[in-house]
Structure formats: C-alpha cells, structure tokens
Symmetry: C2
Subunit: 202 residues, 2 copies
C-alpha cells in the first residue's frame, strides 16, 4: 500500500490523490487504508518520511567510504539522481514536500551534509579559494532540482531519454574545471535594477 | 482576466483551477470568460502563449546588444530568472507546460537560441575545448529549472529570500572558472550499475 501511495502521489500530486484511489490501486479495502492512516495528510507524511529514509540510506552507504570531501559531494549528487530515477518514494517525497509547504523540504534531509562536506573540502584546499562552500552548495541544490525537473518532464515519454545520472556527470565535469577558456572579467556585474535597454550596462 | 488566469494557474496549477474561479478572481462574469475561451484548455493555451511571448520579448532586448556569445548566454539566464521572479505569465507558462505534457515545453522557446549561442562561443574559442556546447546547454537548462524550483519553494514565505538572479550570478561565477583547485582526475568514472557497496568502485 505504501508503494501504491508513493506512486499515486508521485504521478498525480497531493490534491489529485485520494485515499479511495490509493485503496483501489493497491487492491485493498478503503477500511484497510483508514485503519492505518486516518487521513490523506497522515499517509502523505508517512510517504515523505519513507522517501527521506530511502534517501539517507543511499547517502550513508557512500559516506561510509574513504572518499575525499569534494568527491563525496559529487557522488552524493549522482546518488540523489539515481534515487530520483529509481525510487517512487523519493520522487513522491520531493513532490509532496513542495506541494505541502508546512512540511519539511526533501533537501533539508541532505543539504546540511553537503554543506559540511564542502566546508571540509574548502579547508583542505580542494576548492578554488574563490569557490565558496555556500555557493557550491547552491550549485548542488540547483543541479538536483534541475535533475528532478528534467526527470519529471521526460517521464512517461518512453525509455529513450538520457539518464539524469549521466547528465549530472557531464555537468559536474564542466563545473569542476570551468566553462570559460578565459579566467578574466566576463561575469556581468550585479545590477541594482533590471536591464531596461539592450547592452546599456556594458 | 489574462492576468488573473496566469496568477491562478501559477499558484494552483491546471487541475485545481477552474474557469469559474478565474471569473470570480478577475471580477467578471463566467459568460464573459467563456465568450473568449470555450474551455479551460483554451485559456491555458493562451496563458502559455503569453508567457512564451513575454519570455522571448525579454530575451530579444538582450540579443539586440553587442555582447559576446558566452556573455549573452549568461545574461539570458539571468533575464530568465528575473522573468520568473516578476512575471506571473512566465511562471504560469512553465507550470502549465509541465502539467500538460501534450503542449510545448516553455524551454523550447529559448533553449535552441542558447545552444546556437554556445556553438558560436565554442567556435570563437570562448569555451574550454572540453566544455562542449551540448553540455553547457544542459547546465543552463538545469540552472533554470533549479531557479524555478527554488522560487516555487520560497514563494509565499515573505520577501526575505535571496533573489534567484543573485543566486544564478554566484553559480555562473563558479561554473565559468571551475569549482576545483585541481584540474586532475577527481571526476568519478561512469558506472554501469548502481553502487552496491560503500567505496567498492574506488
């Protein structure tokens, strides 16, 4: 029943999912569902908890290894993408947390770990001196959210899409060594207001 | 009425929005709504079209300027983030396209432009020789999706959140020059299966 609930919440979201639909998909009586979960919110809480537990289980296997902090952050990101691809409870936990703003965000379960590892990486000199741990953490958060959006956009469109794990590996390669051939002044300066004229700030 | 429709679709999504609710929020009769739009799908189509038009309008102001291709890609990304922050039609277009898989994705409106600019940047030597345009395009797609997810997670939580434009500027700084202090062999090799044991592949 938890698996059916995760799949329904993942596919249709919180609002469009009902306990009676989950009971039908799971092939159990509505009484059996409500015996365990008195409300849809209760069941969603349980699915979110399971998704976080599955996520932390995946990450703990990695952190038990002998990897350097930066390498570990990369492997954690790839493992998060793998979990998103393969575990409906993880996808449901991500979606439910977004749709139920009063509950903990899925990333709250692992972002502090990523930040702590990046602090270590910085202290050990693995990061460039101007690559601040807070900024790299933000990059990881964006890549993970981007991977989920990609996955959600492609789901149901057949198996002919590229694995998000492979995509993140390509992106990490870029992010580690840099996109630009020139270390110079290409980045635009912060502007205090939106650009109103083409090229005006250049 | 289009503004009310964009705001409702943006906040509540396609399924949870009805023509009668939009008519109530816009303060017009349901007859006035159905006179212009015979169905919710029609109105959603119009909102998505407007969101794409607003997006392309914002980008065209930039491309009229004298910027180099790589710089232009960065500015386009920042402009997309600004549009997401400020334009409900853009946010609605993104959300509706995701929730209505039979319609064009919002990114279809601008990703080809980004790819063409990155091809130019590569030819002009602005990119590292191993920073392939396809991979940088993928990075842009992930950052944009990540910015939208961040924004959606923080909306309604008051003005005390960081601008996504400022965030993307920090991330671009990293991505341009690279995160790692070492150009060496830190990136993990592709694995054909999921890691089953901690550190086994290292």
């Amino acid at each position: 029943m938890m698996k059916a609930a995760a799949e329904e919440f993942d596919r249709h979201g919180y609002d469009a999912t009902s306990l009676s639909r989950i009971s039908a998909v799971a092939g159990v009586s509505i009484g059996a569902v409500t015996f365990h979960f008195s409300s849809k919110a209760d069941l969603a809480d349980a699915v979110q908890q399971e998704g976080r537990a599955v996520t932390l289980g995946g990450l703990e296997r990695l952190t038990a290894g002998p990897l350097s902090p930066l390498r570990l952050v990369i492997d954690l990101t790839l493992e998060l993408a793998r979990l998103m691809e393969q575990e409906s409870s993880v996808r449901a936990a991500i979606r439910l947390a977004r749709e139920r703003p009063d509950t903990d965000a899925w990333s709250d379960a692992w972002l502090p770990m990523v930040r702590a590892l990046l602090d270590q990486a910085y202290e050990r000199g693995q990061l460039r001196t101007d690559a601040l741990p807070a900024d790299v953490t933000l990059l990881v958060e964006h890549l993970t959210n981007g991977a989920e959006a990609y996955l959600r956009g492609r789901m149901g469109s057949g198996p002919a899409f590229e694995s998000t794990v492979a995509q993140l590996r390509r992106i990490w390669h870029l992010a580690l060594v840099g996109v630009s051939s020139d270390d110079g002044v290409i980045l635009p300066q912060p502007r205090t207001r939106a650009p109103s004229q083409a090229g005006a700030a250049d």
